[in-house]
Subunit: 277 residues, 2 copies
């Protein structure tokens, strides 16, 4: 899934300092690894672990990271959350339940906006994640500026830690590079048809339909023409697609003279497509 | 992580028909299960599987779903993608690489907006996901209205299927219920302090500091007072926090008369906190 030719350079945003991810007392190496992979997917690099139960390094973590080796190799291990956050200027504590603490609670989108604003100034920030079983304690939450929680279905709120990391990392990248995708519809390869070409397509189709007495009764012709034109306007046709459709109409017009072309009209739509993968 | 008292009712959105998720030829039961769990986290219920390699039902899928049994129990299995999408009116094909196909490419946020608009009218919609190894073929993509891709780091673009499902489901729910979180800072339990209470706190603090000749030289007093007041304005203090701080100031003022209170000023900040979990 990584063969991406012609990547949009805007999708390679590196100007904004990404937040770090701090995992507090994770039990399973697999969770550390999948968290590292989720970070790498969205351009986060700085993974910090406080007292991992099974020690560090962890081969299970490396295997689960699916080649996010640059994140695994750079992991820093700490004895306390205080040390892990010491160099950060803004920290979100992630929690899945209401706390008896008077601290603002944000969604991942709002949290990302805050951390992007800090990162744009070069300030170091982080997301603090709790234990698999019971999250963070209140002393740990007290080290954070604000709380982030996910807009889950309250009746099925339990997220795996790597899933929570993924959503936070996804939102950070979305906000950091204004949602730039690695690729979009390439309008240089697939330029949209000009209105002039579209109108000639319309006139070609309408002429062909006149030839087979399609518009009946004649007084309904104007509204039927409008309906047809609206169908093709909605399809946002490309240059090539207009050519394909004109080929379709020409083929159908000449159908009586080409007895080998016995297909349905719909089949002719395949003509001219280059469906390579 | 599911103990959530006082859930915000707005977080239980059910008016909008959620999209279904179609997995095309998934190889691993674990991936089906973690996809089901991700769906359940964000309120999606309709999981459809086309030709699962290891058949169905799958105990591995159920185990990996972590109690998302309502999704697993309702899974529908199909022989073809055509059958799986037959009743849907709008389908996004998910793909991680540029296609030679003239179809709009959207981010998960844009795709969610489209599907929420359809779902609000009760129209059935879906996300179509490809195989673990090589995604969807072009004939399958041709069954979709548009393409959705994730704003990943182009240099580490490989996502697990359940991770891709999670991001799409998260964005759907965020758009469907306007980002309503299960809980926010509860301002009925933690009402913000009135400006009147704040001003009395300021005056208490400034009076105490006058008493120890803190403001030196006297002509700097106005700007020092403003700085102090700004510190506490930024903290968005609650009613209870103002009371706590007034207790702190009173304790510090009386320090000479309470020799047992030998702590640093910062320690006194703990007074009055109820850090229960």
């Amino acid at each position: 899934m990584t063969r991406n030719a012609n990547i949009d350079p805007a999708a390679r945003s590196t100007d904004i300092l990404p937040p770090c991810v701090i995992l507090c007392e994770p039990q399973l190496g697999e969770n550390i690894g999948t968290a590292a992979r989720a970070m790498a997917n969205f351009g986060l690099r700085d993974l910090r672990i406080v007292r991992p139960r099974d020690g560090w390094p962890s081969e299970k973590a490396r295997a689960a990271a699916s080649r996010a080796d640059h994140v695994i190799d750079a992991v820093k291990v700490f004895d306390t959350v205080e040390e892990a956050v010491a160099d950060l200027s803004f920290v979100f504590a992630t929690t899945a339940r209401m706390r008896e603490v008077a601290k603002p609670v944000r969604g991942p989108d709002e949290a990302a906006e805050t951390l992007v604003a800090h990162g744009a100034r070069g300030a170091a920030t982080g997301y603090l994640f709790g234990r698999e079983r019971w999250g963070l304690n209140n002393d740990e939450v007290a080290l954070a500026n604000e709380i982030v929680t996910l807009p889950v279905d309250p009746d099925f709120a339990s997220l795996n830690i790597a899933q929570a990391v993924l959503v936070c990392a996804y939102e950070w990248r979305t906000k950091a590079n204004a949602g730039a995708l690695p690729f979009r519809l390439d309008e240089t390869v697939n330029p949209p048809a000009s209105k002039d070409d579209l109108i000639r397509l319309f006139e070609h189709l309408e002429g062909a339909l006149d030839g087979v007495n399609f518009f009946r009764p004649p007084e309904r012709r104007p509204s039927m023409v409008r309906n047809l034109r609206n169908i093709f306007q909605k399809a946002s046709l490309t240059d090539q697609e207009v050519k394909t459709l004109r080929g379709v109409i020409a083929a159908l017009e000449r159908r009586p003279t080409r007895p080998h072309d016995g297909g349905e009209a719909a089949d002719a739509g395949d003509t001219g497509d280059t469906a390579t993968d």
